[in-house]
């Protein structure tokens, strides 16, 4: 992992201020380094400049929605392997399917998930991607 002092660098892409503060505070307390973006455009720029270890991605956002961000990240060789967790209130089968087809492994519905579960999922994804890197 890039940053040795923390559990990992997380890019949080969330346009709702209250949710962004809640998640940011929680994950900082848990020991992660947080980077934030409030729309899809900013998210893509921050992925390039900050190289996060994992992305928490909302779907309904202004200036490029989450699906567009996903598609662009997957097309780029340098970003396509960054693990992404979708954290959205779109919970329809079709949305989940679409995200999975775009290479997402974890899809969480905000209103149904506890924060501690979000933390667990982040840790699990980071562990998986670390193992993958060593094996590869």
């Amino acid at each position: 992992m890039a940053d040795v002092n923390t559990l990992g660098k997380i890019l949080l892409v969330e346009d709702d201020k209250f949710l962004s503060v809640a998640l940011g505070d929680k994950l900082t307390r848990e020991g992660f380094t947080m980077i934030k973006a409030v729309n899809g455009q900013e998210a893509l720029a921050k992925v390039q400049s900050q190289r996060p270890d994992l992305i928490l991605l909302d779907l309904m956002m202004p200036q490029k929605n989450g699906f567009e961000v996903l598609a662009e990240l997957k097309l780029d060789e340098t970003t396509k392997n960054i693990p992404i967790i979708i954290l959205s209130n779109l919970g329809q089968e079709a949305d989940i399917k679409k995200a999975k087809e775009l290479g997402v492994r974890e899809y969480l519905v905000k209103s149904d998930v506890e924060m501690k579960t979000v933390v667990e999922k982040i840790k699990a994804e980071l562990a998986k991607s670390a193992n993958g890197n060593f094996a590869g």
Binding site: D16, A22, K26, N89, E93, A94, V109, S111, M115, K116
Partner: protein, 375 residues
């Protein structure tokens, strides 16, 4: 009738046919067009005299999802083979390609043409439903938007109260903890209510997806029971599980199955007094899987038994005891069971308890496309 009368009658019928807003086509047993009205001609961009005698499939090319329908799926063939009237609506998702290449969504009714008790062809009545489809689309978008908008602030309340309750930002006294727990629980109920309302709106719109995959009923049931364990323990309820080893995994939509277990089991827990007994049995019975959920709870008053599957209905005896409850659960369960090809019924005695029974066919649920899943 005199010849003049016959001719007048003929002209009158022609006027009716050509003034109709719907397209009308009649075909013979060889599937050739014997009559087509003007509206049909305009919709299909084919002049009626030009269409006469041609095969119906050349003139009325039916598509689903931009693919031409295969012969055995053609509603015309079904109507003739089954000697039945077939209605095709918005949710069937069929389109027709006009001669100029324009594909437009249609609603149609096909009736076998009977003459002297023999089928001599079929009558097809159809119309362009582009507008209906636009309205449907707008509804779907509204549901999706409303869900997103309502859930965002609810998620914020959830997460902040979770963090404060966990004392991440400092210790709480007992009263603060109790109040905050109430706030957190009330908000969870609000989330469930929003989910239920969304499910009801999808059911009422008539289209929710059924996506069957091999599903182990006992695994889904146990998952739900694990979630309910805190409430079961709190009320000191005894749980009797009776899973028949013979119950195979069948093709069922796990999300729908979860909705069934979740609603029935949480009702059993909610409407049973402390120290009571709730039971869940899964059995193979003939060609069905039988789910039985029992409780020793408040029961359903005889006068209310006919109404419990009605939307927003809650029985008087539980309304006093349990403020929680939306009156939507059983309405949703019934719709889900029926969409899965199953049946639901119950036995209940006020003050003694209730047993719900559901059967779902071993053959599995039939896949049903739909833009809206239930959550």
């Amino acid at each position: 009738m005199t010849e003049i009368e016959i001719r007048d009658r003929q002209e009158q019928l022609n006027a009716i046919l050509s003034s109709m807003a719907e397209g009308l086509i009649a075909i013979d047993n060889e599937r050739r067009i014997i009559l087509m009205n003007q509206a049909a001609g305009i919709l299909l961009r084919t002049a009626p005299p030009e269409a006469a005698g041609q095969e119906i499939k050349q003139i009325l090319a039916i598509y689903r999802d931009n693919q031409p329908l295969v012969y055995q799926d053609l509603p015309i063939e079904k109507a003739i083979a089954e000697r039945d009237i077939i209605s095709i609506g918005l949710l069937d998702n069929l389109s027709v390609k006009a001669k100029n290449g324009r594909l437009f969504p249609i609603a149609m009714t096909i009736a076998p043409l009977l003459a002297k008790g023999e089928i001599s062809g079929a009558i097809i009545l159809f119309r362009d439903i582009t507008k209906d489809r636009e309205i449907d689309q707008a509804k779907t978008e509204f549901v999706s938007l409303a869900s997103h908008q309502l859930k965002t602030p609810l998620s914020a309340i959830n997460w902040y109260s979770e963090m404060v309750l966990e004392e991440e930002v400092g210790p709480l006294n007992e009263k603060q903890k109790e109040y905050l727990k109430n706030l957190y629980d009330a908000n969870r109920r609000m989330v469930e209510l929003v989910n239920s309302l969304l499910n009801v709106s999808r059911i009422d719109l008539g289209a929710f997806a059924v996506e069957p995959s091999p599903t182990d009923f006992s695994a889904v049931a146990d998952e739900v029971l694990t979630e309910l364990k805190p409430q079961i323990d709190l009320k000191k309820l005894r749980l009797d599980k009776e899973y028949d080893k013979q119950v195979p995994s069948i093709n069922a939509d796990p999300k729908l199955l979860r909705i069934i277990f979740q609603n029935l089991l949480s009702n059993a827990v909610k409407y049973t007094a402390p120290n009571g007994v709730i039971g869940l049995a899964l059995k193979k019975e003939g060609d069905n899987i039988l789910i039985r959920v029992t409780d020793t709870g408040y029961g359903i008053p005889a006068a209310d038994q006919g109404k419990i599957f009605t939307k927003l209905f809650r029985a008087d005896n539980v309304r006093d005891k349990e403020a929680e409850g939306t009156g939507l659960g059983l309405y949703i369960v019934k719709a889900v069971v029926e969409a899965g090809g199953g049946r639901i019924w119950f036995d209940s005695l006020e003050g003694r308890g209730t047993s719900f029974f559901i059967t779902l066919p071993l053959a599995g649920m039939k896949k049903k496309a739909g833009t809206r899943g239930l959550t």
